[in-house]
Symmetry: C2
Subunit: 131 residues, 2 copies
DNA sequence: AAGCAATAAATGCGTTTGCATTTAATGTGC
DNA sequence: GCACATTAAATGCAAACGCATTTATTGCTT
């Protein structure tokens, strides 16, 4: 039960806000420029690769991401439009939708991952004291 | 020079993403419900109170916040529409705009601050181990 | 089996955001 | 003093988001 002072709380919140803003902005920018995808789209691809089968139900994806159900739906729609994933029916439960990486999507992720890791390294290791 | 592993980098990023999403979502929700203002609007009011004079130039506000110049401009416009701040000319530099809290704005901030601190306390002290 | 609640995903809609541009005022070089 | 770059703020516009609703399917109760 550490008595956390009010100024300490605010300091933590502002640090969090600062870190998030800086990193997410850099990620979005860099991924967009280098690979034509946004941060949310990359996160979806990353989750699909994490799931070894690389074929996940929308609902499971939604649980692993910090996006509303509708936002995820549209993000996947954009990925499909760009040919990076495919949506398919699920025989077991016909309400559900499977999302699967395409070859192009896997390749795009492979390259984008390097970019992302680079940005993360820059922001998390560079200057521990700065910001 | 701590050699930061790739998985460690990703862990940190996901922690950051999780924390930010959780806290900002809770803040936005709670502030909106209880006081009819969003997180960005509260942050502006908070900055104005921080600046003891409570009268800041847009440009200075922008520097202290993680919002684009245009987003700040519109956020202040909403605050003005709701009667929480006033915009006024700056005699020294007629390009600049001063933003000042109104009595209503100060009062609204006073109450909203309690709400905000409560949410922060909940998320930063509650369970240090849980996410 | 029928009716009704619950669940999965998609969609309409309004809000907020960032980028690029515009408008207005200031500063600078000649 | 006059053109031209620079700076401050506002605005047009499109993208992305969340909420609420819709559509389709499944599960549950009787």
């Amino acid at each position: 039960m550490t008595e956390t002072g009010e100024t300490e709380l605010v300091r933590r919140w502002r640090d969090l806000l600062a870190s998030y803003s800086t990193v997410s902005c850099a990620l979005d920018r860099t991924l967009q420029e280098a690979h034509g995808i946004g941060m949310s789209e990359f996160e979806v691809l990353d989750r699909l690769v994490d799931a070894s089968c690389e074929k996940s139900r929308m609902h499971d994806l939604a649980g692993a991401m910090y996006l509303s159900q509708s936002a995820l739906s549209r993000t996947v729609a954009r990925l499909e439009r760009d040919g990076l994933v495919e949506r398919s029916m699920c025989a077991d439960d016909r309400r559900a939708i499977f999302v699967k990486l395409t070859a192009v999507g896997r390749e795009r992720h492979e390259r984008a991952r390097k970019t992302q890791r680079g940005v993360l390294a820059e922001h998390f290791t560079a200057t521990p004291a700065a910001v």
